[in-house]
Each structure stands twice: as C-alpha cells, then as structure tokens.
C-alpha cells in the first residue's frame, strides 16, 4: 500500500466512522440510560429503532407530513411507547420478584412483539428506502469525501448528545435520573420518585433510538430486520463501560471508526467481525470499559 493510499483510507475511514459512529453513540447512550436506571440491557432497542424508522417513513411518505412535524411526532409517539412498555410490562415483571433474567426476557419479548406487529402491517414486506432528508451532494475534506447529508447526520447527532449532556447535568429531572443510576437507595431517600424516573428514562431512551433511526434510515435499506444495527450500539456501550454516558459516546465513535478502518484496510467482508474484535479487546484488556471507572460490583 502506498503512503498516498494509506492516507486516503485513513482519512476516509475517520470521516465515515464519525458519521456512523455518531449513530452508534446515540444508540449506546439510549442503552446505557436504561441499564443504569432499570438494571436491564434492552434487547428490544433494535426493534424500537426499526419501528420508529417506519413510523417516520409512513408519516413522511404515506401521510405527506412535513419533515419538521414528522420528527417531533415520531419522537413523541416512540417516547410514549417506551414509557408505556416500562409501566405495563417491566414494572410488573420486576414487582413479581423479577430476577434480572426475567427483565431481559421481557425486553426480548418486546423485540419479537414489535417485529411481529411490523410484519403484520405489510409495510415491511418489501425493502424500502427512506427519502434523503438532506442533499446528497458530496463535499471533500482533505482527501476524504462525504455528503451534505453525512454532515447533517453528524451535526444533528452531536447536537442531540450535547442537549442530553445539558439535560443530565443541569436539570432537576436529569440529575435525578443520574442519581437513580448511581445509588437508587439514596435517590429514594432524597425524595426522588424512582418509578417516575424509570418510565421517563424508558421514554427518553426510546426517543433517542428513534432519533438515531430517523437520521440513519436514508443511508440504509429499510426492512423489518434493520434493528440489527443496534448490535453496534451494544458494542459501543460495552467499549464505553456500559454504565458511563460519556463512555457510550466515546464507544460509539470508536466502533464507527474501527468498523470503517477494517472495511477499507482489511476487507469489506471483515466489517461484520470488527465490532466484536473491538469488544473482545476491550473486555480482555480493560474489562471496565474505556470510561467505566473501577471494575467494582454494582451495588443494589
């Protein structure tokens, strides 16, 4: 490989990695929020992401709802869907002496339920493409090329992350959510309504997954199986330590960039294994994740 080619590949994978990485970062954030406050990895997140993308598609294409109305409508619908799932299902499973494995199975149930419902509607029978939300003209930075849409995805995802950072650190509710994740007992004693926080977190997390879906769908082929992308959000969360919100963001970009580097430098067939190599490396060399703090047992 010439130096020239190396530089090109390097810059290109960095560029593309930042774009897809921003989506993984959002998905990982959503995953970590739920894990921190309700102690369950959400295996239904991929299907929330998928259903949200179809809701957006239906609103945009079939109902001709304008773009700026479609986004808040989709986010709101998915927010309430997630919150209702927590209230109706998870809360009850937990109350019925829910061992954490029961909670995990409940989220798997959600995944099958959503996929089943989606198949019923018939919309997912044929693969569809989501209309581009932004121009797809290409722009070059250094040797790398990307589209205007890519920059829009990255910019909007970063803006959403910044908004969440501000929310978690500077609002009463956001602070309470972090408190529940850090020490639920203490949170109850300072007067946090922990059940309310739990459904709010499920709603918020689902809305983040929905946002990720809306942003990335124009670059994907939509099928009922598109939720599989979320596995990379999982990988990002693990790389970040699974309990750290900044870790989730860093993990997202790491996975995105590693994936693209493997694709360009090794082979596009190797892309699918790249995230798993990254997880294995992190789990073996730094089991607490990049930003996971000390590897101590979680206190209940």
């Amino acid at each position: 490989m010439t130096w020239e080619l190396f530089l090109l590949f390097f810059q290109q994978s960095l560029m593309s990695g930042l774009v897809t990485g921003s989506i993984y970062a959002l998905l990982a954030l959503a995953m970590v929020m739920i894990f921190n406050t309700t102690d369950v990895p959400n295996f239904g997140q991929g299907e929330i992401f998928m259903v949200a993308s179809y809701i957006a598609l239906v609103l945009l294409v079939f109902a001709s709802v304008p773009y700026l109305v479609m986004i808040p409508l989709t986010l709101a619908a998915v927010f309430f869907g997630g919150a209702i799932f927590q209230r109706l299902v998870l809360k009850r499973v937990a109350l019925a002496r829910g061992a954490s494995v029961n909670l995990v199975i409940a989220t798997l149930g959600l995944s099958y339920f959503l996929k089943g419902v989606m198949r019923q509607t018939g919309i997912a029978e044929v693969p569809r493409s989501f209309p581009a939300l932004f121009p797809t003209d290409s722009v070059s930075i250094g040797m790398a090329t990307a589209t205007v849409q890519d920059f829009a995805i990255l910019g909007l995802a970063l803006a959403a992350m910044a908004a969440f950072f501000l929310f978690f650190h500077f609002t009463r509710t956001g602070r309470a959510m972090r408190a529940v994740g850090m020490n639920p007992r203490a949170a109850i004693l300072v007067g946090v309504d922990i059940e309310r926080m739990r459904w709010l977190v499920w709603g918020l997390s689902s809305a983040i997954a929905a946002l990720a879906g809306i942003l990335i769908s124009p670059k994907l082929l939509m099928t009922a199986d598109m939720g599989i992308v979320v596995i990379l959000g999982f990988a990002a969360a693990i790389v970040g330590g699974f309990t750290s919100l900044p870790g989730a963001v860093v993990g997202g970009f790491v996975i995105g960039i590693v994936e693209n580097m493997v694709g360009l430098f090794v082979s596009s067939k190797a892309i699918v294994v790249a995230p798993f190599l990254a997880i294995m490396l992190v789990l073996l060399l730094r089991p607490q994740g990049l930003l996971g703090g000390k590897a101590t047992a979680k206190k209940v």
Binding site: R172, R175, A176, R178, A179, M182, N183, R185, A186, A187, I188, L189, V190, G191, V192, D193, G293
Partner: protein
Amino acid sequence: MSDLLALEGIAAGYGSIQALSGVSLRVTTGTIVALLGSNGAGKTTTLNTISRVVPLTGGRILFDGEPIHELPSSRVVMRGISQVPEGREIFARMSVEENLVIGAHVRRDRAGIAADLERVCDYFPVLKSRFRQMAGTLSGGEQQMLLIARALMARPRILLLDEPSLGLSPIMVQQIFKIIRRLNEDGLTVLLVEQNARLALAVSQYAYVMENGEIRFEGRSADLVKDDGLRRTYLGV
C-alpha cells in the same frame, strides 16, 4: 410541647422475618430523641418505615398529627422528614455541590436552594472547600458530613440520623455530634439512632432502647445514664 412524630404500634418485616412488632415512640418538637439497641435490633428498619422505604404491616405513623404511613417516600421528604442513612449512601460520581443540590430535589424555590447551599456550608465549612470534588473521593468523616448536609438541603423539620458515628475517628465523631447539637439548638428536631449509647444519651433528652424488634425501655436520657443494670444489659457501656 407537641409530638412532631409519633409511631403507634408499628410492625414491619422482610418476607417471613418479623423485624418490628408493636413499636411505639414519640419525638417531641425541638428535642433530640435517641433510639438505641444492639446490631439487628430493628433501628434502621424503624427509620425506614418512617421514610416509607420499608412497608408497614401494622400500626400508624403520625407526623404533626397527620398520618403519613400511606404516603409515597417522596411525599414524606416533602412533608419535612429527611433521613441520613447509615453506610455512606452518597452519589459517589457526582460533585459535592451536586450531592447537595440533589438533596433539595423536593423543592422548587431556586433562590431558597442557593441560600441553603451557603447555610449548610456554615455548619460544614470543609464541604465548601470541596465543592467541585467528586463525593467518592471524600474521607469517611467528610462523607458523613455530606450526608447530613444533603439531608438538610430538603429543609426538614425532623432529621432521622442512622448511626452517624459508625466507623469514624473519635475526633470526627465529636465534631459530628457537636454539629448535631448545634442543629438542634437552631430548631431542628432529631431522631438519633446509635449503637454508641454513651454519646447518644449525652446529646439527647429522651431515649428508647430496642431489642429484637421491640421497645424494651424508655425514659429521660439523664435517668437512663444512671441505670447501671440497663447500661450493662442493653447498652454495653
């Protein structure tokens, strides 16, 4: 003087374990009342039934004459009952300041909260100098101070203190007790759970002694101190 807090024959348990039965106690407004007893007697469980973290299976709890034993825990804090739990239950990966701010979670008065940040730091000047530090990096004594300060941020009318002296150096214990006394002089009512009976009796006006989930003795602290038999049997001093 009226009773700020009254437990009337409360019972509670964990599954098949009966942890409390027929516990009655009263805390008069403006006093410090001690709740003593050895490990496993049911002191923490008593505080947790008041905070509505452990459900009651019998009896009533009155705060300022009104029943509170069916309220959710957040409402209990809102009414003016704050617990300082045992075992350093801080928010370790939040700054000292954030721990204090979250102590005021049940309040909405921004200006009042800001003023109270200053006020609690008058009691605990060391916290002021550690405002931006992560709470998890504080020493044991400082964490205990942070816990008390955090509870004060809710502007409680009564403070439930669970073994504030546990695991602290004698100097630190003295310091903490001095502050408890000062808080009480400034008008705060206190229910103080302690294994260190000597200290607790010195600072309180009235005391209850628990054993096996029941109240065995009660009386004025000054009298209990003089009761040799009681001291040997239940208080180990």
